[in-house]
């Protein structure tokens, strides 16, 4: 079992590495800060090792018994009105696995970044560079995410949750001099903040009902206490608290209708997208729901909401992925869609399955993003219309991306297949679910999403790696280029080994993480259903019909993509007006961005609310300030009239005061 201090070090080491990079290395000479990447990798890698030890420990005896530490207490302990603020580490199998995935993926991404960000180090002019800043943010982001995962207390979790939001803001806006990046960072921050508001309301709602917790002798903020008290709470409490928390989760995990920030977040460096998408920020929402699953489970309404939002998002985002030409945007929509899958699994009552999918998804999505980064390293654009034929000089990138794509599509026996199949069969059987009808509904949604997923990921692979090369950055019209990259040219070579090695490692995981971690049969060192049992869950039964169905659907999607984009034997041109309208709908992302930015922000806020508050600010708030100033100035002027400069007038005042004091004194007696 890991000692508690070591558990804290899982958070502390990346934190230390980040602070060291930005506060010690960055202000130093170039000769030192170029090692910032190694410092970050060392910190995160050490956290990864500790997390693995924690997983190993968690396999033995379930929950780690770290007592929380009291930070401060208000009122008497256990009193009806008092409460205790505690901090601590909650290291159960769920958080141990999550911590291992987060730190592991982060380590791989940082190794990849050594190569990808090399350019920023070489381009640096003068003593200062963005290079150490990048690794500092990466480390601090990882530390925040690990803190979120290991939090014992909901408030503690919320603090790290917001820190994750902050560092995602800084990372997405890493190239802050690009207007698009700055706008995307702001958008990510603000949209997730909307969800976080719900999160905060959920916490407050629990706090309002602290009396019920106090009656049970529990603390309303401690996660184990919430899980323990959930079945005993009065009706409605669980529902509203769960819905509030789910709002936060939906914001962070980019679920409909708060998904708009994620595609824009592609403006950050590609490894950042990879990290945010694979295991960290967006997975935080799934993790939160899984963490507090006991609370959600008590409310059928909350479960149905989670399931339906998840299912709708899975289809909705996959549909948008069909029509995008930006390789990273396709992957972004794919992430949203896959997160929808996870929420769907949570909603039908299988947190273990959701976590399993999160676990597998972390590897193949990270792999796909890093593959996109590797592609960009060569052609300096993300637009698939200008790629094609890359497999000729990027064999490793091609092969690993293909593995990732197959895994994402859910082809036997790759990782994605196993978890997707578990989700589908759980939804179909509805065994765990609070309500069967919703479960069946989301099954069909998930199946539709599976088809689209297979289609768009092979559209991506075929457009970028097959066919003839269409020129890369050299063909991109100048007005479409990002200013920073306008002077770049295509280099027809494979990426350096520091970038391909992470790809290979991740590809191995993308192949194996599925059937090794949650195998149907005993594999010797790994027992059958290791992952499920680690999370104290029964593995869903393997349903051969559903497995075949999903495979057929996926293969059909791949086949259609090959026919349309590979052999060009099928064309959508003939589908006519309906297709064109639908295409427009997809390209415009169902007009959600337009709705938010134009209707809500520009019309309702700028022209409505803000005008009113501007008027109030100018007239009433400023008016009061002006009035205070006017009063001060004029009363001062009035009093200044007393300052005659004639000393005898002052003397009269002094003696008058003395007389008044004396008279008062005599009257008191």
């Amino acid at each position: 079992m890991l000692p508690e201090a070591a558990a804290w070090l899982i958070i502390g080491l990346p934190l230390l590495a980040g602070v060291f990079s930005i506060a010690v290395l960055r202000p130093w000479k170039r000769s030192l800060w170029q090692y910032a990447g190694y410092a970050a990798i060392a910190g995160t890698g050490a956290a990864f090792v500790l997390s693995l030890i924690a997983v190993n420990g968690a396999m033995g005896n379930g929950d780690a018994g770290y007592e929380p530490h009291t930070w401060f207490a208000v009122g008497a302990l256990g009193a009806q009105d008092g409460f205790q603020m505690t901090v601590g580490i909650f290291l159960d199998p769920l958080s141990a696995i999550m911590a291992a995935v987060v730190s592991g993926v982060s380590t791989v991404v940082q190794v990849f970044s050594l190569g990808y960000m090399r350019k920023d180090a070489d381009d640096a002019s003068g003593e200062w560079s963005d290079y150490p800043r990048y690794f500092a943010y990466m480390s601090l982001f990882t530390a925040s995410m690990l803190g979120l995962v290991l939090a014992y207390n909901l408030i503690q979790l919320f603090v790290f949750w917001e820190l994750v939001g902050l560092f995602s803001y800084l990372l997405i806006g890493f190239w802050y001099h690009r207007p698009a990046a700055a706008a995307a960072a702001k958008k990510a921050f603000i949209v997730t903040r909307i969800g976080d508001f719900g999160f905060m309301l959920g916490i407050l709602y629990l706090f309002l009902h602290r009396g019920e917790f106090a009656a049970l002798g529990l603390n309303p903020f401690e996660i184990p206490a919430i899980l323990e008290a959930a079945p005993m709470l009065s009706a409605g409490v669980a529902t509203w608290a769960a819905l509030g928390l789910f709002a936060g989760a939906a914001g962070k995990s980019a679920q409909f209708p708060l998904h708009t920030w994620l595609p824009d977040a592609m403006e950050g460096p590609t490894p950042v997208s990879s990290l945010i998408h694979a295991a960290t920020m967006v997975a935080a929402g799934v993790f939160l729901v899984a963490r507090l699953f006991g609370l959600f489970e008590e409310s059928a309404a909350a479960m149905n909401t989670v399931a339906i939002i998840g299912g709708v998002t899975a289809v909705f985002a996959a549909a948008m992925g069909l029509a995008s030409n930006d390789i990273k945007r396709v992957l972004a929509f794919s992430t949203v869609s896959q997160l929808g899958y996870m929420f769907l699994a949570l909603g039908v009552g299988a947190p273990g399955v959701a976590m399993f999918h999160l676990f597998n998804h972390a590897f193949f999505k990270c792999l796909l993003f890093l593959g996109a980064g590797s592609v960009h390293h060569s052609v300096h654009t993300f637009d698939m219309r200008y790629m094609g034929g890359l497999r000729r000089w990027m064999p490793i990138t091609y092969m690993t991306t293909l593995v990732g794509g197959l895994s994402l599509a859910g082809i036997f026996p790759l990782a994605g297949f196993w978890s997707k199949d578990e989700i589908l069969s759980t939804a179909w059987s509805g065994a765990h679910a609070a309500s069967g009808g919703v479960s069946q509904l989301v099954f069909w949604l998930a199946l539709a999403a599976a088809f689209m997923t297979a289609f768009y990921v092979f559209r991506l692979i075929i457009m970028s790696f097959h066919g003839d090369f269409r020129g890369g950055i050299d063909s991109v019209p100048h007005e479409e280029r990002i200013p920073d990259e306008a002077h770049h040219h295509v280099h027809q070579h494979e990426s350096p080994r520091v970038m391909t090695l992470p790809l290979i490692v991740l590809a191995v995981f993308a192949v194996g993480s599925g059937f090794v971690a949650n195998s149907l049969v005993d594999l010797g060192p790994v027992p059958a259903h290791w992952f499920s049992h680690l999370l104290h869950e029964d593995a869903p039964d393997f349903n051969i019909v559903i497995a075949l169905t999903s495979t057929v659907v996926a293969v059909a999607g791949i086949g259609l993509a090959v026919l349309v984009y590979g052999t060009r034997s099928v064309s959508f041109d003939g589908v006519g007006r309906l297709w064109r309208w639908g295409h427009r709908l997809l390209v415009e992302r169902f007009f959600m961005d337009a709705l938010y930015e134009d209707l809500i922000v520009r019309r309702a806020l700028y022209r409505g609310l803000f005008l009113v508050s501007d008027w109030v600010d100018r007239r009433i708030v400023d008016g009061m300030a002006d009035l205070a100033g006017w009063l001060g100035r004029n009363s001062g002027r009035a009093i200044a009239q007393l300052q005659t400069g004639h000393i005898q007038v002052y003397g009269v005042g002094v003696s008058m005061g003395a007389a008044v004091i004396l008279i008062f004194y005599l009257m008191q007696r």
């Binding site: 300052q643 005659t644 000393i647 005898q648 003397g651 009269v652 003696s655």
Partner: protein, 114 residues
């Protein structure tokens, strides 16, 4: 007897105060201040003579009775010393002022206003 002297002292003090506050000529003001000093001295001497000194036991008083009995008179001596110094300086100031500003009227001296 004590009350009489104190009343006289109070009357002198108030006359002095009135003079300080109402006279225009600086020398008159200085003279009024002197009257106030003297009023205080009268009160001190009266206290010294007629009140029971704190700390002194009437019966079997020690040989250092003067320490208590003469406190007021000693203080009056110092008041006189300070008054003398004040008058010397004050009058010197008035003469310097009369030379520089060519005035001896307090109402002309209102530079404190700005």
């Amino acid at each position: 007897m004590l009350e009489r002297l104190l009343i006289i002292s109070a009357i002198l003090f108030c006359i002095g105060l009135y003079g300080v506050l109402s006279r225009k000529h600086i020398i008159a003001v200085i003279m009024s201040v002197e009257i106030m000093f003297n009023a205080v001295n009268v009160a001190l001497v009266a206290f010294s003579r007629y009140t029971v000194p704190a700390g002194l036991r009437l019966s079997g008083a020690g040989t250092d009775a003067e320490r208590f009995v003469l406190e007021g008179q000693t203080l009056a001596v110092f008041v006189i010393v300070v008054a003398a110094a004040e008058v010397a300086l004050g009058l010197a100031l008035i003469i310097a002022l009369a030379r520089r500003r060519d005035t001896v009227h307090i109402s002309d001296l209102s530079t404190l206003r700005r």
